[in-house]
């Protein structure tokens, strides 16, 4: 954990607040909907305790996520999940789909509180996973981040909407930070540590792969129609190179092909040029597709 109020600590706090703001669900609207049929004085209590409950539930879930992420394999799975979350954030709202339905108005204080807390827990799973990964195991950072951002979201939801409306680049920055957190989680995976130490170049390949996959909805929009296949070809090429990095030690152990000089050259040729026919085949298929549509 970084030292308290050091640049690293403040930076991690900034990451958590930014992730909270861009991944926040419609908590404020849910609270408003649930509390709309209650008497005025109960409404105020519901808003306060609903917010308090939301912070408590999220802190509890994030703490659980921190412990779960310590289990080997989960850090890698969490990192991959963050790639999907970043893509979902950057996709236009119609394409991403509305995953949260409306909430029915409650008639009692306990019923309202229960609805708010359950809705928040369901809507905050992606958020909790992201901040659990960004906090590097620090519960203090999680609680501080949530204590800063959840009240902003609940009481200042209009301000948040106005901010992102004025500066939509905040969303892109949120996507980039999510991709960064995903990359950090993948390279921190304990199961991968020995392999990553032996293959340091793989870190950079993983970084480009994570960023190209997470930010694909953004950069693919800037490509011309002819360049669109790059959205598939670039990650596929990086996966090809990664696969060779994984297979290489096994080939060496097996001897056989790599034992001779010719064999070693052949393997290197396949590694650096073998993807070309596959990419050409893919591009040919892409070219054929419109013709098929016209005929059909």
């Amino acid at each position: 954990m970084p030292e308290l109020f050091s640049a690293g600590f403040l930076s991690a706090l900034l990451v958590i607040v930014l992730i909270d703001l861009v991944l926040a669900g419609d908590n404020a609207l849910i609270i408003g909907l649930v509390a709309r049929n209650l008497p005025k004085n109960t409404q105020r209590k519901v808003i306060f305790w609903g917010t308090f409950g939301a912070i408590a539930v999220r802190a509890l879930m994030a703490a659980l996520v921190v412990y779960i992420l310590a289990v080997p394999g989960f850090m890698l799975a969490g990192g991959i999940a963050l790639i999907w979350i970043a893509r979902k954030l950057l996709m236009p709202a119609e394409a991403a789909g509305d995953s949260h339905g409306g909430a029915a108005a409650a008639t009692s204080f306990a019923g309202a509180l229960r609805t708010i807390v359950i809705a928040d827990a369901v809507m905050g799973i992606d958020n909790v996973l992201a901040i659990g990964g960004a906090a590097s195991g620090s519960l203090l950072l999680i609680v501080l981040g949530l204590a800063i951002s959840v009240p902003i979201i609940v009481w200042g939801s209009h301000l948040v909407i106005r901010l992102v409306d004025r500066f939509p680049s905040v969303i892109l920055l949120g996507g980039a930070v999510l991709a960064w957190t995903g990359y950090t989680m993948i390279v921190r995976e304990p199961l991968l540590q020995p392999w990553l130490t032996a293959h340091p170049a793989a870190r950079f390949i993983i970084a480009v792969l994570v960023f190209s996959a997470s930010l694909a909805p953004w950069w693919s929009q800037r490509l011309s129609r002819q360049m669109q296949p790059l959205v598939v070809v670039l990650p596929a090429l990086l996966l090809w190179l990664l696969a060779f990095e994984i297979v290489d030690p096994h080939l060496e152990r097996m001897g056989g092909l790599l034992a001779t000089e010719t064999g070693a050259y052949l393997v290197e040729a396949v590694r650096w040029l073998g993807w070309l026919p596959l990419a050409a085949g893919f591009l040919w298929l892409q070219e054929q597709r419109p013709h098929r549509t016209v005929r059909g």
């Binding site: 403040l10 609207l29 709202a93 909407i161 106005r162 409306d165 680049s169 892109l172 970084a207 953004w218």
Partner: protein, 120 residues
């Protein structure tokens, strides 16, 4: 539904983003990728290739190898500086090359040149 998707512009942030904002985020992403490269580069290999001083060690913090210790705040500042630099260079080039651009066909500053055969 995400709260930010309640905003019309940010629900389609990719198309609604300003060129300046996009350049800033792109610069931050480049800084993040450089950081990952600094993490991946083997310093002994660079030393053997004789590139350590020439390319990657401008002195402490600014070197590529020192980048992996950078936090998000530093990356944001680096991205802002990088984007500002690109904007300044672009503005300079625009000023430099504007006089070379031909004026529109019917613009006031267009010099009317006509080639007529004189009849004697």
């Amino acid at each position: 539904m995400l709260l930010v998707h309640r905003s019309r512009r940010s629900a389609d942030a990719i198309r609604g983003v300003s060129p300046g904002g996009e350049l800033f985020v792109a610069s931050v992403v480049v800084a993040m990728l450089l950081l990952a490269l600094g993490d991946a580069v083997d310093s002994t290999w660079l030393g053997e290739a004789g590139l350590e001083f020439a390319l990657f060690d401008f002195g402490g913090e600014l070197s590529l190898l020192g980048l992996h210790q950078w936090s998000l705040l530093q990356l944001l500042l680096a991205g802002a500086a990088f984007a500002g630099g690109i904007c300044a260079v672009k503005a300079g080039f625009t000023r430099l090359f504007r006089p070379l651009r031909p004026a529109a066909r019917r613009a006031l500053d267009k010099v009317p040149i006509e080639f007529r055969q004189k009849s004697f």
